[in-house]
Symmetry: C2
Subunit: 332 residues, 2 copies
DNA sequence: CTCTCCTGATTATACGTATAAGCAGTTGAT
DNA sequence: ATCAACTGCTTATACGTATAATCAGGAGAG
C-alpha cells in the first residue's frame, strides 16, 4: 500500500509524487501559506495523498528551514517545585499541545544567564518559559536575536526584562492572614519551611501575612515531627498560623494535638494547596490555593500570540496571574 | 567579541573560520568521530574556538542529518498517573539528561497503534517509552523501520512486543496482603478506586491481594466522604483493608473513626505511596510503595545501551522493575 | 627515482522542508 | 492584435550538520 522508499516515514516528496504535483505545492498546501495560489482541486488531491500515506512533517527539517521549532522550552528545576507547579505544567502541556506546540521541560538548574540561554538555543525554541531570576539582559537579547519569539518569566512579581507569569505568593499569604484576623486571631505567625528551593516562596508568603498584620511572627520549621514538637512545647504560641502549605499544616496540627492543644480553639491553622486530604483531616483543613483553572490557558494564548506576531512582547507586563482563593473549613 | 554574523547563534562554519579549519573538521572534532584523523593541535584549536564563541550544535540540523534526534519520547497520559509516575518521570528526566538525551513528555492520550506511531515520528526520537497497551505489532515495526532505536513499554507485566519497564501492581498488593495476614487479619478486602485511569491499577493490586487471600473482597469506592460513610455504615466490614493508596486510606480511616471504629484494632488499613503525611496521621499509616531509587537509572542505562547499539532490544524482556516495599507504622 | 601507504586535512553532498523566483497559459484592457 | 496582469503551478535554493570521497604532501620500500 505504502509506496514510500524503504519503509521510512513518507516525506513531502512522496506526497508530491502520489498527488502528481511538485514538492513545493505540497508544502504550500499543507502549511496553509497565505501567499500560495493553488486551486481547490489540487489542494484536495494533495491532502488526500498526505492522508493516504500517513504523512507527518519532519519536525527537524521544518525547524532547520524556518530557524525555529514548535518547541516551548520550560527549563525549570522541577524537583524544587511541588504540587502547584506540577499541576500547572500539566495544564500548560495540554494547552500548548492543542495549539500545535510541544512543551519540553528541562530539570536543568545549574546554568544562568547567557550560558543557560546558549544551551536552551540548541532546540531553537519558539518560546522559553523560565524563572525570571535566571534571566539577564544579555541573555534575553541573545534569545531574541536567535529567533526565540517569546521569552516569558515566572516570578512572584513582574520582571523588568520580560513579560511574566506571576504567582503572587504575597497575595496568598495576605488572603490567609485576612481570614485568620476576621475570625478572631490576634497574634499571627507564618511558617517558613527550612527546605532549599521552597524557602523563598515561604518568605514571600510571610511578607503577605505581614502586609495584613505587620507584627506577625516568623516560624522557621523543617518538615520533621521532632522539630514541630519542640516548637509547640516551647510555648509562646500565636493563636493563628498560616502553615505555608497543607502538609506543614498537618505537621503542625498533629504536634499541637499531641501537646493537648485544640485546633482551632487554641490555635487556628490555615494551609495552602487545597489538597484532597484537607477534607479528610479532623478538623477539616482551611486552605488557600492558587486558582489554576484559567491561567495556563491565558498564558498559552498570550505566548501563542507573541510567537505568531499578533501581540507584542512587553517587558514588565503580566501575561498571566494566579489568583489566590480561600476555602474555609473548620481548622480556621 | 563574537564574530558571528547578525548576532545569531554561531554555527560550525563560524567555529571553523575562527579556528582556521574547514567545517568538516569542526564536526569531526566535536562529535569525537572515531574515523576522524585530526591532530591534537588542531583538535585543541577547534575546541578553543567553539568554547570562545559559545557554540552549541543546532539540534534540528543534527537530527535532520542523522535521521534521529536526541529525544526520548514519553507519550503518556499524565493526567491519569498520580504521584508515582510524577516521581518516576522526574528521575528519568534527570537520568536521560545526564546521558545527553532530552526527555519529552506528551500528555496525548487519544491515539493508538500506527496512527500514534506516525505522530510520534515527527520528532524522530531515539527512543519511545509508552504504555505497552497502546502498541501494536505494525506500530512497533514502523517505529523501528523509521529509525527509532528503542521502543520500550510500560506495563504491569512483560510485553510480547517490546522490552518493558514493569510496575508490578500485583506484587504491591501481595506485599500489603501478606502484612495484613501476618499481623492477624482474617477477612481481607482491597479498594478499587472508581476513577477512570487508575481503576486498572486498582484491579491489578486487588489481584495481588487475592494471590495471598483468594477470597479477599473487592470494595469499589469513589473518592468521596459520603460514599465512604455509606460503605462503613453498611457494616459487614473486613478486619484488614488494602486501601489502594494513602489518600484512599485516609478517606477510609476518617469514615471508620466517624463511625466509632478503631484502627487498627477493629480494622487494619494499609495505604500505598508512602506520602509524607503517613507519619502525621493518627494512627500513623502503614504503607507500601514502589522503590524508585534504582529503576529509572537502570532504565535510562538500558535504553542508552540499545540506542547506541551495544545492547540488543529483546521483546518480552524486563528492562527495569519497580520493587514493592513495605513501611510498617501503626495503622496495620 | 618511482610507487605505495599513511597522515591530516578539504571538498562535496544529502537529509526534508519552506519559500523566493520564475514560467507557461489565460484573461482583460487597450 | 499586443501587452500587462493574473493564475496556478514548478524550479531552485538555503537552513546547519555529519560523513563519504578526495586530495596534498611526506615517509618508507623497492
Amino acid at each position: 500500500m505504502n509506496t514510500t522508499r524503504g519503509d521510512r516515514p513518507p516525506t513531502s516528496v512522496d506526497v508530491a509524487r502520489a498527488a502528481g504535483v511538485s514538492q513545493a505545492t505540497v508544502s504550500y498546501v499543507l502549511t496553509d501559506n497565505p501567499h500560495a495560489r493553488v486551486s481547490e482541486e489540487t489542494r484536495r488531491r494533495v491532502r488526500d495523498a498526505a492522508a493516504r500515506l500517513g504523512y507527518v512533517p519532519d519536525a527537524a527539517a521544518r525547524a532547520l528551514r524556518t530557524g525555529r521549532s514548535d518547541i516551548v522550552l520550560m527549563p525549570l528545576s522541577r524537583a524544587r517545585t511541588g504540587r502547584l507547579a506540577q499541576q500547572v505544567s500539566e495544564e500548560l502541556e495540554e494547552e500548548f499541545r492543542t495549539r500545535g506546540y510541544t512543551l519540553v521541560q528541562y530539570g536543568e538548574r545549574t546554568l544562568k544567564g547567557v550560558a543557560a540561554a546558549r544551551s536552551w538555543l540548541a532546540l531553537r525554541p519558539s518560546a522559553v518559559l523560565v524563572e525570571a531570576a535566571r534571566l539577564t539582559r544579555p541573555a534575553v537579547d541573545l534569545l531574541h536575536a536567535s529567533g526565540v519569539r517569546a521569552v516569558v518569566g515566572l516570578s512572584d512579581q513582574p520582571s523588568p526584562l520580560v513579560p511574566a507569569m506571576v504567582f503572587d505568593h504575597r497575595a496568598l499569604g495576605a488572603v490567609a492572614a485576612r481570614h485568620l484576623v476576621a475570625r478572631g486571631s490576634r497574634r499571627l505567625a507564618a511558617v517558613v519551611p527550612r527546605e532549599e528551593g521552597i524557602d523563598a516562596m515561604g518568605r514571600a508568603r510571610l511578607a503577605g501575612v505581614r502586609e495584613v498584620v505587620p507584627g506577625a511572627a516568623r516560624i522557621d520549621l523543617a518538615f520533621s515531627e521532632e522539630e514541630a514538637g519542640r516548637l509547640v512545647r516551647a510555648g509562646d504560641l500565636p493563636d493563628g498560623v498560616f502553615a505555608y502549605n497543607d502538609e506543614y499544616a498537618m505537621l503542625l496540627i498533629s504536634a499541637l494535638r499531641d501537646a493537648g492543644l485544640r485546633v482551632p480553639a487554641d490555635v487556628a491553622v490555615v494551609g495552602a494547596d487545597d489538597l484532597p486530604i484537607c477534607t479528610l483531616m479532623r478538623p477539616r483543613l482551611t486552605s488557600v490555593h492558587f486558582d489554576v483553572t484559567a491561567s495556563p490557558a491565558d498564558l498559552a494564548g498570550e505566548i501563542d500570540g507573541i510567537v505568531r506576531g499578533v501581540r507584542p512582547s512587553v517587558p514588565g507586563e503580566v501575561v498571566a496571574r494566579f489568583e489566590p482563593r480561600l476555602v474555609v473549613r473548620s481548622s480556621a
